[in-house]
Amino acid sequence: MSAKKAKLPEPAAIQPLSVDMRKLTRVGSRPGFFEYVGKLWAYRQFIFYDARARVQSGTRRDRLGSLWLLLNPIFNGLTYYLIFGVLLQTSKGIENFVGYLVVGIFLFQFSSGAITAGARSIRTGKAVVQAFNFPRAALPLGANIRELLSAVPLILGMLLIIVVFPPAETISWLWLLVIPAVFLQGIFNLGVGMILARVIARVHDVTHLLPFILRAWMYASAVFYSYERFITDPTLLQIMTLNPLFNVIDIVRKCVLYDTLPGWHSWTSLACVALGALVIGFFFFWKGEETYGRD
């Protein structure tokens, strides 16, 4: 071959071929929104199996196994207790600071774990995504169910600490309200995780930002101080209380520590934000359905 780049000859002819396409569907195409939800329901066994199997394998490498699910927030709590409670005295004016701190840290840990897992689910599940055709939302959904399952021992541990550590609280019927609160929190985690999953599938750099965002969020959620002490401006305080994670923590604290029924506005605010996040997250994730298999 000489220097000239050989040009491939054109085909001899082009044969038009009329094809009945009615029974065909486009491969890998994104179904309509409600059809997608239906398809996801058909894959429920896959989602649950995935979640269960991974809960068991998550801590298999560690000698203490699943105990780390509990030890991790306990050590976290201890650190914050020493720094903020003992050294910086943010505990001033807070009744039962240990309980206050434990509720904040354990619940925030649940959200940060679930949001991170949901956000990374498409990246970590790339092999499965490329190998099989299934609705991709199964992955963030499975990751969140997994986190919800492992939150059960976490929350039981939290309640145990509250009962055992002085000033020990007594168990009341109000404690049952923890269940709907944590459930709404799980829904919120799922919605945020789905939004981030699509973003991270596209721009991987965001995974580096995620820990910083979560940390800032934790500092803003009154985990180891109370809003009343540091924020005097009432409008700012109102804005801060829109934070759904603060709402969850506040609701659980009221039920478990202070024996008061949380106000309806906390519940409605939490429910609206959680459901809103779910709908937006689901819709946003579904929009990108065809892109997740790409390298």
């Binding site: 491939l8 044969q15 071929l17 009329s18 396409m21 491969v27 896959f46 991974r54």
Partner: protein
């Protein structure tokens, strides 16, 4: 090039229609002269220490209609777009332009995809089967035969990350072969594992092929292609070169490769150009009404 005025009418729905599909990738290039490093975007990438990117065309515009009962072999040199085409048909990646239409979900029998390394082999079997849309009852029924086909025996209960690559690919094949797909895609699946496994997998492949509505096979072995296919297409650098009977196409391709390996590039190119010049390409016309029109 002449357009044929007369339109062919295909009776009944086909299995797979590839309609004006085109695939380009943006990949990183370490070639400083590629020109991609120029311009603001390119300079910015360079400053961030990222390699410049170039666009690579993996598949040029291509249309193909495959009917029920056809076994299509895809041959070509490395980088000719064979695997890209399989990925597009399986829906693993979406084409840059055009669309692939199929009568049911195509199943790709590959051997390269990893499953979940932390989980044990048996958990991966269940997970993979569920991901293909099987129910728990179907999996219970098939579980033993999947394990048997994989030949893993008691190693099935160990985590996947402890498997050798051969073991993992055998399991992957066994899982994918558990369903009877209407549209089956095979990508070099025959050349994995030891002799014992390859005879077992070949038997299962034959079974699947017999039941499938249509089959696509990518292989470097021309014998395999010749034995198994009813139609062979030859791709080269993302272009369709030939589309014909297995004997004719493989003979021509073998001729081409023989000239190339002797370093005889000019005559090889002539063979290729000649084949291409005789190609009758397809143009897909979508028919939405069921009635047969005049003509034919």
């Amino acid at each position: 090039m002449a357009a044929i005025d007369e339109t062919f009418f295909l009776d009944g729905p086909p299995c797979v229609v590839i309609d004006r599909v085109k695939m380009t990738y943006k990949v990183e290039s370490s070639d400083e002269r590629s020109g991609a490093a120029r311009g603001l975007k390119g300079r910015l990438r360079k400053a961030l220490g990222r390699p410049s990117r170039v666009t690579v065309t993996a598949l040029k515009e291509l249309s193909l209609v495959v009917e029920r009962g056809e076994s299509v072999g895809i041959i070509g040199r490395n980088g000719s777009g064979k695997s890209t085409m399989m990925k597009l048909i399986s829906g693993q990646t979406a084409p840059t332009e055009g669309g692939v239409y199929a009568s049911s979900t195509p199943i790709l029998l590959g051997v390269n995809a990893a499953l979940v390394p932390e989980l044990s082999g048996d958990q991966n079997v269940v997970l993979g089967c569920l991901a293909m849309g099987m129910s728990m009852e179907q999996i219970d029924e098939q579980f033993d035969s999947i394990v048997e086909l994989s030949g893993l025996e008691s190693a099935i209960y160990l985590p996947m990350k402890s498997y050798s690559s051969g073991m993992a690919s055998r399991l992957r094949f066994a899982i994918a072969a558990a369903v009877n797909p209407e549209i089956l895609l095979v990508d070099e699946a025959l050349n994995t594992g030891d002799a014992q496994f390859s005879s077992r997998s070949k038997a299962r492949m034959d079974e699947l092929r017999a039941q499938a509505g249509c089959v696509f096979i990518v292989s470097h072995s021309l014998e395999t292609i010749r034995d198994m296919c009813t139609r062979v297409i030859w791709l080269d650098k993302g272009e369709l070169i030939m589309d014909g009977s297995p004997e004719e196409t493989t003979d021509r391709y073998r001729d081409f490769s023989a000239h190339l390996s002797k370093g005889n590039n000019i005559s090889a190119t002539r063979i290729k150009d000649d084949a291409r010049a005789n190609l009758v390409a397809t143009q897909v016309l979508e028919r939405t009404s069921g009635r047969r029109m005049q003509g034919r």
